[in-house]
């Protein structure tokens, strides 16, 4: 192995004029492998004030914060965790672009902090050797030195620093040890030059790179020229071919062929050269016990990745996660709903009747409630995810489920997002962040809303309870129908995923080599932080969209509010009736109160039926007629755009039963006896008053529609937020609505044939 000094001039200085002026703000970038404690270090250095951002065109998030080093403020950028700076996609290119100063709006870092896991030094230093070639001062932060020591590994830090020619600081990020020394080293490094350029590559390789560099122009950093040669079909090649012309590919191919002849085959040469160099340089610095001790991770993995025990423990854990988001979140969600109701009643008593009050109560307050109500599920799910990820179990879960999920073109990492979606697609879609591969993540996000979530439950309960149970039906029918509705999602989702992976999201199979990190005690601080971050991100980015959609639907149901010179608008008349009803309650007969309430409900129904949404329902009747629906069902389906369960409230209004709470259905002892169910049974077609609307085919068609449709503004808002594009929520809504329509059509038509 040759080690050759390279002219330092071939790598640009960190800033245009060498040493940074004292007034200029300095920037440090944090790079490291996944599972090295990078996030913990970032949090410890930057404190609570962080900013999560995205560069255009990429889906990975980059965190930014500030830290103080020796009296100077640094912008600290936390780059996505990676094993190598060999970009194969725009997502992987971000780290390279930021460090090379090619990311728009981002100053070139003055220092790169390379965090490495001391218990796994060689593999971690691979990335460091790449960072050393970027022409920016590097500081090595040697983390988890305690873990290394417990395994009998001794590291001579001073010698390591001399060998690499860069400062090496031993830290324990989780215990906040060594951070002062690290800050001092960063401050010092920022004003020094880039590290001495030593290359691990053979001379023949460097010569070819230098020649190619001259040929394509010096404005391309030499680091990228090296990547161009090494990464066959990589992102550098694609980008430079786009910028400099396709000829470059031919040129590079020539270089690669010559290198193979010279005994440096690409890409194999890189790993061999780097690992060889690392071993040479660290030879006298690392001392290992002759016999590798049996670690805790060895012992735990014997159980947790065991075919039988591992699977059982996994299933038990998943049951716990599911149970938590399904039932533990319930009291909190009910509390939020109750709080919203109390506030609404309080405001209703004190505000004048009119569009503004109504907007505030039924639009804004309902909307805010609809947003906040997701928080318990999101927080609980992310507490689990952060915990499982931080302790090292997440990789094992993906390992156990990989084969199953690979049958539908996904990987083991899609399992938890899909499972969570059975409770609610919103946290499920957010959980898809754990999937690094962009196409897999998209496929998971796009099919997650097909899983039967808890918002569909009230719809199923109402329809099954009212029309498919009781006298004349076998006792097992309700259970079977309910199960079929869940099974529908479980069957359709993988099929759609497979279809997407074969068409829209087609591409070469990504590499699934995954590290199984050491088990460790999760840090409560990190878990809390991720819970908080995910909740906040949801509120800030998806919340506004959900609120907006609620307000739009509110307006469509509120206007026109009627009113003429002779008559007050509907809401004013209803408020008057309500007041009369309240007065009657205090000193009137029960019958009189009931009569008033019926009057209110009838008037509300009349108002909503003539509203814009009611008019839309009538307009789309020809479209929904083949599904066996009348315009009232069509209108209720339209009104349920913000959330599926809203359909029950809307049906309640249309059938003059007043504003219904979904709980009145889900908690009813006998659903068929609820006033709404009775009204629905009595409902007849407008054109033919002898024919009931809700026949069994119609009921089934309605259920299938709600099983497959995406009537959930929150889901769409979260898809927009996670994919950073309107394209995907529009796509999801379109394909799911089409699927739902076709499903309902088939069910109704076939059902009518059999039944009729």
């Amino acid at each position: 192995m040759q080690t050759r000094q390279v002219d330092p001039r071939d790598s640009a200085p960190p800033s245009a004029n060498g040493t940074p002026s004292p007034a200029r703000k300095l920037t440090a970038a944090l790079v490291g492998n996944p599972n090295t404690g990078k996030t913990t270090l970032f949090n410890a250095l930057s404190g609570l004030r962080q900013h999560v951002g995205n560069y255009p065109g990429v889906t990975v998030e980059t965190k930014k914060g500030q830290m103080c080093c020796a009296g100077r403020t640094f912008d600290l950028i936390d780059l996505p965790g990676t094993y190598s700076l060999a970009p194969r996609s725009p997502d992987e290119m971000v780290a390279v672009d930021v460090i090379l100063g090619q990311q728009k709006g981002e100053a070139r870092p003055d220092v790169v902090v390379s965090i490495v896991d001391a218990s796994n030094l060689e593999r971690n230093l691979y990335l460091t050797t790449q960072a050393l070639e970027l022409g920016v001062p590097v500081v090595i932060a040697l983390n988890m030195i305690d873990v290394a020591q417990s395994q009998g590994i001794r590291i001579d830090i001073e010698r390591l620093s001399r060998q690499f020619g860069v400062p090496v600081v031993s830290i324990q990020a989780n215990k906040k040890k060594g951070l002062e020394e690290l800050r001092a080293a960063v401050a010092k490094a920022a004003t020094s030059g880039p590290p001495p350029r030593q290359t691990p590559f053979p001379e023949a390789f460097e010569r070819e790179v230098a020649e190619l560099h001259r040929a394509i122009g010096v404005e391309v950093p030499v680091f990228l020229v090296r990547r161009l040669v090494l990464d066959v079909g990589g992102w550098t090649e694609q980008r430079l071919a786009g910028r400099l012309g396709e000829d470059i590919r031919v040129q590079v191919q020539g270089v690669r062929e010559r290198l193979t002849q010279a005994g440096c085959p690409v890409p194999a040469i890189e790993a061999k050269a780097r690992y060889g160099w690392i071993r040479e340089v660290t030879a006298g610095c690392i001392e290992r016990p002759a016999q590798r001790p049996v670690t805790w991770t060895d012992r735990i993995d014997r159980v947790l990745t065991h075919k039988v025990w591992g699977t059982l423990i996994f299933l038990a854990l998943m049951f716990l996660v599911f149970q938590a988001i399904f039932t533990w979140a319930r009291p909190l969600m009910n509390g939020i709903s109750d709080g919203k109701e109390m506030l609404a009643n309080l405001l209703r008593d004190h505000l004048p009747v009119g569009p503004l009050t109504n907007l505030l109560l039924d639009g804004v307050l309902e909307g805010v409630g609809a947003v906040v109500v997701f928080l318990p599920q999101i927080l609980i799910l992310f507490a689990f995810i952060a915990f499982l990820e931080d302790c090292g179990y997440m990789a094992r879960a993906a390992f156990l489920m990989d084969k199953l999920m690979s049958r539908c073109g996904l990987s083991g990492k899609s399992f938890i997002p899909m499972l969570s979606s059975v409770a609610c697609a919103v946290p499920g879609i957010m959980a898809a962040r754990v999937i690094e591969n962009r196409r897999d993540r998209l496929a998971t996000i796009l099919v997650a809303p097909l899983m039967s979530c808890s918002a569909r439950l009230p719809v199923y309960i109402l329809l099954i309870g009212a029309f498919l149970s009781g006298a004349g039906f076998p006792w097992w029918l309700p259970g079977v129908v309910m199960f079929s509705m869940y099974a529908l999602g479980l069957v359709i989702a993988p099929l759609v995923a497979l279809l997407l992976k074969r068409t829209l999201l087609r591409g070469e199979t990504p590499v699934f080599v995954m590290e199984m990190p050491l088990y460790k005690m999760p840090s409560p601080r990190l878990v809390l932080r991720r819970m908080f971050d995910s909740g906040w991100a949801f509120l800030r980015r998806a919340g506004t969209l959900i609120l907006a959609s609620m307000v739009v639907v509110w307006a469509l149901l509120y206007f026109p509010r009627g009113g003429s010179p002779e008559e007050q608008p509907y809401d004013v008349r209803i408020a008057q009736l309500q007041k009369e009803a309240d007065d009657l309650k205090e000193n009137g007969s029960k019958d009189a109160v009931e009569e008033k309430e019926q009057e209110i409900n009838a008037l509300t129904a009349e108002w909503k039926q003539q509203s814009y949404l009611g008019q839309m329902g009538k307009a789309i009747e020809p479209v929904v007629r083949p599904l066996g629906w009348d315009w009232k069902i069509g209108m209720a389906a339209l009104a349920s755009f913000p959330a599926r369960e809203v359909v029950i409230g809307t049906l309640g209004i249309i059938y003059s039963e007043g504003q219904l709470d979904t709980d009145s259905i889900t908690e009813a002892e006998n659903v068929a006896d609820t006033p709404l169910a009775r009204r629905m049974k009595e409902a007849k077609w407008d054109a033919d008053p002898t024919r009931p609307v809700y026949t069994i085919p119609t009921v089934l068609s309605l259920m299938v529609f709600f099983a497959l449709c995406c009537q959930c503004a929150s889901t769409l808002a979260v898809i927009k937020r996670e994919t950073r594009s309107w394209r995907w929520p529009v796509f999801t809504f379109t394909y799911m609505t089409a699927l739902a329509y076709v499903g309902a059509l088939v069910v109704y038509q076939v059902g009518s044939l059999i039944g009729g």
Binding site: R123, D231, V232, G234, D301, T305, H306, K403, V511, E515
Partner: protein, 76 residues
């Protein structure tokens, strides 16, 4: 010569070659799988795929098709 996917849990081997010259090969090598290294299959997932391997101080999960690219010499 056997490939890594043919090993049973508990068996060890020395890598003799990684086949191909694509992104997968590059990734395998970056993760430390290159000739001369010793690997041990630790366990198999429930459906026999993927496999968990140990390489020195760390562990990786590889799918069967990926492990098939790794040529090895069985060690006693």
């Amino acid at each position: 010569m056997p490939s890594l996917d043919q090993l049973r849990p508990g068996q060890r081997g020395r890598i003799t070659a990684i086949q191909g010259e694509d992104a997968l090969m590059q990734r395998l090598m970056e993760m430390g799988l290159f000739e001369g290294e010793e690997v041990e299959v630790v366990s198999l997932a429930p459906l026999g795929d993927p496999l968990e391997i140990r390489l020195g101080d760390y562990r990786l999960s590889l799918r069967r098709v990926e492990a098939a690219r790794v040529q090895i010499l069985l060690l006693p």
